[in-house]
Symmetry: C4
Subunit: 436 residues, 4 copies
Amino acid sequence: MADFWNYVESPLIDGLFWDVWYNDQAITSKEDRNILYENRMLGIPRMRQVKVRNNSCTVHDEFRRTFSTCYDYFSSASEDTEPFGLGTGTAWTYSSPEKLDTSSYWGWLGTYGGGGFYEDFSIHSKETLEKIKVLKENLWITRGTRAVFIDFTLYNANINLFCIIKLTVEFPPTGGATPSWDFLTLRLLSYQSKYDYFIFACEILFIFFIIFFTLEEVREIIHFKFRYIRSFWNVLDLIIITLSYACILFNIFQFVKLSDVLQGLLNQKTTFANFDHLGRLQVDYNNMEAIALFFAWVKIFKFISFNKTMSQLSNTLSRCAWDIAGFSIMFFIVFCAFAQLSYLLFGSQLERFSTFINAMFTLLRILLADFDYDAIERANRILGPLFFVTYIFFVFFILLNMFLAIINDTYSEVKSEISSRKDFEVSDFLWRGVTN
Amino acid sequence: MADFWNYVESPLIDGLFWDVWYNDQAITSKEDRNILYENRMLGIPRMRQVKVRNNSCTVHDEFRRTFSTCYDYFSSASEDTEPFGLGTGTAWTYSSPEKLDTSSYWGWLGTYGGGGFYEDFSIHSKETLEKIKVLKENLWITRGTRAVFIDFTLYNANINLFCIIKLTVEFPPTGGATPSWDFLTLRLLSYQSKYDYFIFACEILFIFFIIFFTLEEVREIIHFKFRYIRSFWNVLDLIIITLSYACILFNIFQFVKLSDVLQGLLNQKTTFANFDHLGRLQVDYNNMEAIALFFAWVKIFKFISFNKTMSQLSNTLSRCAWDIAGFSIMFFIVFCAFAQLSYLLFGSQLERFSTFINAMFTLLRILLADFDYDAIERANRILGPLFFVTYIFFVFFILLNMFLAIINDTYSEVKSEISSRKDFEVSDFLWRGVTN
Amino acid sequence: MADFWNYVESPLIDGLFWDVWYNDQAITSKEDRNILYENRMLGIPRMRQVKVRNNSCTVHDEFRRTFSTCYDYFSSASEDTEPFGLGTGTAWTYSSPEKLDTSSYWGWLGTYGGGGFYEDFSIHSKETLEKIKVLKENLWITRGTRAVFIDFTLYNANINLFCIIKLTVEFPPTGGATPSWDFLTLRLLSYQSKYDYFIFACEILFIFFIIFFTLEEVREIIHFKFRYIRSFWNVLDLIIITLSYACILFNIFQFVKLSDVLQGLLNQKTTFANFDHLGRLQVDYNNMEAIALFFAWVKIFKFISFNKTMSQLSNTLSRCAWDIAGFSIMFFIVFCAFAQLSYLLFGSQLERFSTFINAMFTLLRILLADFDYDAIERANRILGPLFFVTYIFFVFFILLNMFLAIINDTYSEVKSEISSRKDFEVSDFLWRGVTN
Amino acid sequence: MADFWNYVESPLIDGLFWDVWYNDQAITSKEDRNILYENRMLGIPRMRQVKVRNNSCTVHDEFRRTFSTCYDYFSSASEDTEPFGLGTGTAWTYSSPEKLDTSSYWGWLGTYGGGGFYEDFSIHSKETLEKIKVLKENLWITRGTRAVFIDFTLYNANINLFCIIKLTVEFPPTGGATPSWDFLTLRLLSYQSKYDYFIFACEILFIFFIIFFTLEEVREIIHFKFRYIRSFWNVLDLIIITLSYACILFNIFQFVKLSDVLQGLLNQKTTFANFDHLGRLQVDYNNMEAIALFFAWVKIFKFISFNKTMSQLSNTLSRCAWDIAGFSIMFFIVFCAFAQLSYLLFGSQLERFSTFINAMFTLLRILLADFDYDAIERANRILGPLFFVTYIFFVFFILLNMFLAIINDTYSEVKSEISSRKDFEVSDFLWRGVTN
Ligand SMILES: [Ca+2]
């Protein structure tokens, strides 16, 4: 925790407040608060912490005599909302998430609420340092502190991008500290250039196209009724349309929200600029858009089976789908068995095996030759190498090859069928020629 | 060795004794000996060394005139049990493993006995530093010292976990020092929460299930007699049952042992907390449990061959088992030949080829694309690259593909058999229809 | 930018001007300006910058009140050619690319023009430092500066090699700085040794051979007319001949150009040695030569199908070419779909996915087991692992195996055909024997 | 070069002369010159340099006015044997390789002769430092110096091992310095323990066995005459026997040589201990032994084809040998074409492609997923990625799969043949039963 205060006092403050130009002359206008010379800070940074109550966990009977305090992992049930320290000001009294208009944050060691004890920095580095000094000397970070967040937002006028930054330090109940960061770069405002009018025209076109496409599908649904849903391609169409509508709605909602935030910010420059919800919206929007586009790509396959070679290939893939699926289940069971084994053998020693899911990903990465054998050997000097050899032999040497065997066999089948059918067609053709 | 003392005097002592809170105020109650603010040390740390006698090895005749001393690798036969230095106190007189109740330790460079010369630290950093100074000035570490161990145990009340720590520095007879560490995290005490009652209920249920399962298998054994052992699934059942009983017994034994240790510790706080045996038990228990669960996973395959696809796949695997096994032997011989070659060529230069077993694992890792070609080239500039190309060509390009060829061929066979059998069944069915 | 000036003042100047020998005695002849003791600097280094105009981009309406300046990425349209600072001298007034005889440079963040504001260093370190000080104190690097180049050329007489060095620091409109370098090592002068006469003879021979080869192909073209172009081998011949002529021309042009530059340089030693065009020529020449040789290697295959095994193998490859090509298209579509997905999901977080092309290369490298899974997981904690597993399963486990299935099947076909043809030939032969 | 002298004066001297024990008390007996407390230095270290003459290369006409000196790469023809500097003593006058009894050394940048200018250190650190100071102040290292060697030998009595150490710094004519090292660990003396008598007995047994084996093969040669050499297994036997004899002879020769060196060393302790030839012998001996053992492993295959599975597998491998060989040639041609291309494209930028051989190994490592794509992209931003994709597609996706196709097809053939043959045998057997 001493390290944390050292970080806040020197590199953080120096990084946030660039007071001098490179020839050591102070930058003239105090209003120009730029980072890396080109990025303007919007509003002021905010430092917030969440705490848990003492006795939020129960100490075992045997140790109850020697341990009087116990601080659990963070959970909304065990959150500490009592004033502490100086007892006045936002830094020492609890503010609810609703008041702060902040959503909860999913950190590496837990999910933290949006409320807490916060202190807004000043726009001048000197005042900020004094505020921090007060916090430090009054033991703002206690043994119950579970996470400290530092939030601020930058805007680069040259390239018209916002950057929403959240620096997090998590203090787990095991002691120690885990720092992490979250940079979110957004184009929230559209340019006023010609190119933007072109983009705008495209967006309008897209909306019309989606509406037309929807009507088409509705007609198909009315016509085919339940049979409609049976076709893979129709389901795909439905998904794409749904995601497209969601994207459009998100876009509109975001535009409205942004106007609100910016209006507030431009009126009063020395408040904290809360881009929390906007950033969250944008991330969800991006993910949805990405998935919609991915499905649109998949749709290309509908139109691709035009010539013999292509249909032969896509036939192979669709025919062996069941065998592949069946084998995937078998593969998955063996994989789970090994994951379970590795999780129990190495989980307490190696971070990469620390949960069952982690162990599965680590084993998958071993198949792709991305592994640290030395760590496995160090974790368990007898069972480690034994596990490794067994896994490589059964999964890498044998099971992985089954995928290939299935595909290979199906391809041969499909090809011989097609060529025999072609022969048939040829003979059929000849027959017709004869009978004519 | 100067480095060792430097380490002990500064980072170790600072790390073990956290005297001040982050605002540089001394922590009030001296009783609160926490590390990383949250972890309580149980008892006091102990530093122990094992030595070998002078003349534990024989110097060659040619050099006998110039070399008067000779210290071998550690072995119980060559262990030095004579008092030395000041000659009094546990630090200078030998204590037997029985007296210390410590088992032997398998380090990286050898296996060290549980006895030796030890010094228990104090609970205050100042006293401890003085003790260390005495040891250092009286040359506690001699040329015969083969390993120094620092043992202590932490308890984190927040998450109810013990952490048994053993820091080791090995001094091989070649000179130099090899540090290593051993962290063992254990949940030895069960909570008093509701969740724990649920776990307890599950354990009781598990015991009843295992007993029922045992009776079932006993009945089968009586019925089938010797034929019982021939089935792979029955052998698997036996293994699972045996391992389960062992786990249950371990669990009970551990509970009893822990009560003893904790009782002693809570009564007298300034002694060394010997969790040596408990940790060892827990490790064995974990490994056994892991293997039992792995076999339980494998049992799923007994129930999986329900539909055509699945049985076709498991048929393929079981049928090519003999061919795979046969080829594995051939593969292993070629592999051994290359391992032998690489061991003799690079063993004296590269740590990864320093033993035959190491060389085998290194070659296996080359197949998985985890290798350091530059080191091989550096070790032998002509034969290194030659060896590498030969190995890659024969083993990676050719032999590894044989596994695939075997599986591929067997799969084709099984599939064509099944489809022909199906044809047969269909025709059989038709036949019956005709004859009826 | 302070970092940039620090770099220029100390490591750069120290590196460029080696004034003392290792026993701290000043090197006697001031004329001997060697780097690393052995490399002579030709002429003097030049430092040049390119700038963009203020208001080269438009600030959004909402922020127009607070942002008065806006500097875009570099483009020739937005380049600043106005004098600034002191307003006199080459460092403060614009020189056009034609005047500087410098071509534009393709940096990591954009393409920069060949003109700009430059300052030639002196041959003495002291004078140079003073020049730099003037630049620094008059704020030579402004917020509009987009790149600074430092150009110089070394010559090593021992091994007769030129080294053209361009150190670049790019200042993007986002703030920050991106350093890069460009070392080009050239053998521009041929030795006067015996070996060079041999090379010269080879070159003459090569020219005669190419002329003969050309005549041959011209004859073939006249004879076959349009059918000529249909053969793969003829097209290959044409490409090789064209590239060879281009190489010869380049070589001659370079020789003439070099004489000019060296003549100017030897007459006046304290000017900047402009090897810009020569280096550019040489790079193009090398690439052309490399490609010509590659095609020449491919031509070997024309002559290789001499025995049964070889023709069987090359038959297999040429026959499955269409299937491979067809499947490659399918593969490419799936690949693009995944690249699009990963680009949108991770593009704003990870540099490796920052463009669509980058995303494609990153996915290709995942197939080759060169990836950073942790970064993917950090970028998107839910969709990241999901994407990874989906990609590995569909592309690595399934699609990649299709290539193998196609080749495998074609090989079996070709082999059985050849052996049946052989049987036929044998029976044919027998038949002839019978009928005779 | 200043860096070189700094290294020699401080870390090297401190490392070679351990004067104090860890409690800062000087080690009593000055005779005990141990490194890392346990390793005795034999004799004294020697520092030797080799130089080339000025004007060992020719400067180009154009530059002859400005360059008066020219120092080539090292070759025995251009070696400088003139006295220089102080002109007296071994450090300033040339000693021939015969006088120094040192063989030439193959460094990273060339092969250096065994002669040169050398200075033997003293057994005391103070005297040594003075010697070095004299060398430095009189410019011992000149612009013609091409390599400096520091040779010494350690002996560890505890484990009876010699360690022959050669530290090398090469000064190429391009400027700069390339340090490298050579550690050779040898068991030159055999123990006087019981285990050694057992080893000795084994060696005697081995010699008798080899003699018996030789007689056997001689008999076979006499019997089969020229047909003998046609069998693969007989050739293997010959190779193994020849290598075995060579190993035995080496062993004897080494024993004699070692006695000489040690005798001289024990008589006079303050001379340089020349283990140069002994080390060289041992390396050759080890390599020969390794290869002999590798061939002995291969012999196991002679005896392995005992049951059906094994013979089926070895049949497959031996039958597809020709196809594999044929394809390997094709593969090699394509591989060479790509290696040539990459060598010319990236050779001047990337060390890994700096020679044709290096380029081949780098491409091989790309197939094994050990590559640095970023470096390739940096070296040539357009052709680099293009080359990479082309190479991966043609070689990794297509050609590599041909190996598998060949093996797969041959295995199917062999298996169906064997099973048909078995059917035949069965029917044959039935037939016999019928006719009986
Ligand atoms: Ca592979």
